[in-house]
Structure formats: structure tokens, C-alpha cells
Symmetry: C2
Subunit: 201 residues, 2 copies
Amino acid sequence: MPRLFDNLSSGNGYKCRLLLAQLGVPYERVELDIFAGESRTPDYLAKNPNGKIPLLELDDGRYLAESNAILWWLAEGTPFLPEERFRRAEVLQWMFFEQYSHEPNIATVRMWLMHMELDDAKRRAIEDKRPRGYAALRVMEQHLAARRFFVDDRYSIADIALYAYTHVAPQGGFDLGDFVAVRSWLDRVRAMPGHIPITQV
Amino acid sequence: MPRLFDNLSSGNGYKCRLLLAQLGVPYERVELDIFAGESRTPDYLAKNPNGKIPLLELDDGRYLAESNAILWWLAEGTPFLPEERFRRAEVLQWMFFEQYSHEPNIATVRMWLMHMELDDAKRRAIEDKRPRGYAALRVMEQHLAARRFFVDDRYSIADIALYAYTHVAPQGGFDLGDFVAVRSWLDRVRAMPGHIPITQV
């Protein structure tokens, strides 16, 4: 049975929990208190030198890091990942967009507001990240205006990757009120069979 | 013939130019002055709503954004991308590491030092990014200590993705002197057939 090193408040961890649930794959979950340094211990760094969760340990003891690489590994050969070459590249396009243009702005601000004391440096950083987060949401809004899902009009790991931190963006102070297409898409993702909320294991 | 919307100083663009050269794929290159806003015009935003280069336009008029998604699309079915499922996931792991932990620190500092006036905000941001960039280099150094290339001991798009901004890290003020394994790997990448430097088209 695979083991997922995880933190329940993490959207990156949630991506993996959600797909594992929808695939019906049993797994063991190891909760790390990342705010108390549990992803920075020598023992954990031996598993993932980059010191981050989620991390998937396979049955044979191999490790795979990076939430979106884990999604790809799990989804291969299932309906959650298209088979056609260009569609697969589009899935990756949106997953790289998520990690570069979306997560560092929206997820980071959410984490700071939920778990950290704000000093002047963080307040300045939030001022910088706020418009970048909204810019990412506008790119999503435009794409979803005429589409049900991100790629090939079907639910895929591109939707899972982007859902994880979009649906909790208000916890980071992002107002989704004007993002009509994004909110409809959030509802469609939530309605998929086997969906679980972020804090449910 | 595919068209690459590009900027010659960009490592993200260079990833695509390097792989296209090594694959022997002819293409048309469109240079955009990204510092003069040419990736933010209405015409370009209609092609890539995220307003970034590189962008690949296929023969049939479809567009693919995100450098590492473009690498994946181009490398599929070639020796630059392993066939085995776990190896492919490892390639993605390193490409997501590159876009999340490496590029936003090393490439961004390089771009600011090369192309921007530094104000107090940017100086503070560099102080924040400097240790994060070195942390990414240490993860690479540790991984490469016993390996010739990042995945499966063979040259792949994981190496191309990480080479792009690592070999010019000194332009961002990063000293590679202590990174012995990284420097040996840079030499191995440079020695691959068909290698071209970043500013060569």
C-alpha cells in the first residue's frame, strides 16, 4: 500500500488525497506538522531532499515528490489523464501554470493568513502577490467562460491541480464573487463522483 | 513548421531552442521584446492569455504555453523522454522542482540584475530569493553527487529544464564554485551532441 507524507491543511497534499479517493486506491497517510519543522528533519530530508510535502512512497520503497508529478503518476492509464498527445501536453501546461502563476500567489497568501504572524515583510509580499493571484484567476475565468473543464471538456488532473487552491482562495482573502465561470467550474468539480473536501481523509 | 514565440535572453525560451536543435526540428522563431511589453499586447494575449513566452504554435494553429509542457510535447516518443512510467514521473518531479523551487529564485534574480533598475523592494526580494536559490542548488548537488544525469542516468528533458537557468546562475550572482557535482553535470550537458549556447538560434 503506498504511503502519502502529507499535511491536512495543504492544497498540494489535497490534490493527491482527492485523486487517490476518486481512484479508490487505498493508502496510508502520514501527517507531518510542517509548521513545527517535521518536513525538515534529517529522517524526512533523506526521503525528500527538498523538504516538502506531499511525498509518495511506493510499495517498493521508491519516493516521488511534487504534487503534480504524483498526480501524473497516479492518473496514468486512467480516465483522469487524456491519452492523446496534445491533450496530455495541455494538462501539463495547466499544471505548470498552477505551480508557477497560481500557487505561489494564492496558496502562499492563504498559508500566511491562516498559520503565520504577519510582519512588515509578509505584508509587503502579500501586496505583491495579491494582483498576481487575481491575474491567475482572470486567466482561468477567461478559459472557463466557454468550457466545462480545463482540457478536452472532461474532468482531469488539470482540474484537480487547479481546484485545490482555487476553492480555498477566499481563505487567502481572494474574492471569487466576480469569477462566475470559475465558480461554476468549482461546482462541477465538487459534483464529480467520489469527491471529498480538503480536510477529509 | 512550428513557430516559437521567444526571447533570446530567456532560459525558459532556451529550453525549447535547445531541444528543437537537438531534435533537428526546423522552426520559425519570433523574437518578442518582453521588456517593452510585447508579450502583453492584445494580439499576443489572444495567443497566450497568461502573457508569457515561450509559446509554441503548431502547424494546425494550436498553441501550447509553459516551457516544460512544450519540452514534454516535443520530447514524447524520442530518447529525450524515458518510456517507463516511474521514470517519466521522475522527469516531471524535477521539472516541477525547476519551476517552483529553482526558477523563481535563480532566474528571477538573474533577470533583475541583467535588465532592471534595483529599487529597495527588489533588493529586499533578492535577499529573500538568494538563500532559496542556493537551497535549490544544494538539492541538485546532493542528487548529482552519485549520478551523471537527473533521471535514469541518461540525458533527458529534466536536464534541459534544469540546465537552462543553472548554467547562467552566476549572472544572477550565484557562485557555483562549491557545487562540484553540479559543475561536472553542466559540462556533461554541454558535451551532448547538438548542444547550442543560450544566445545561439
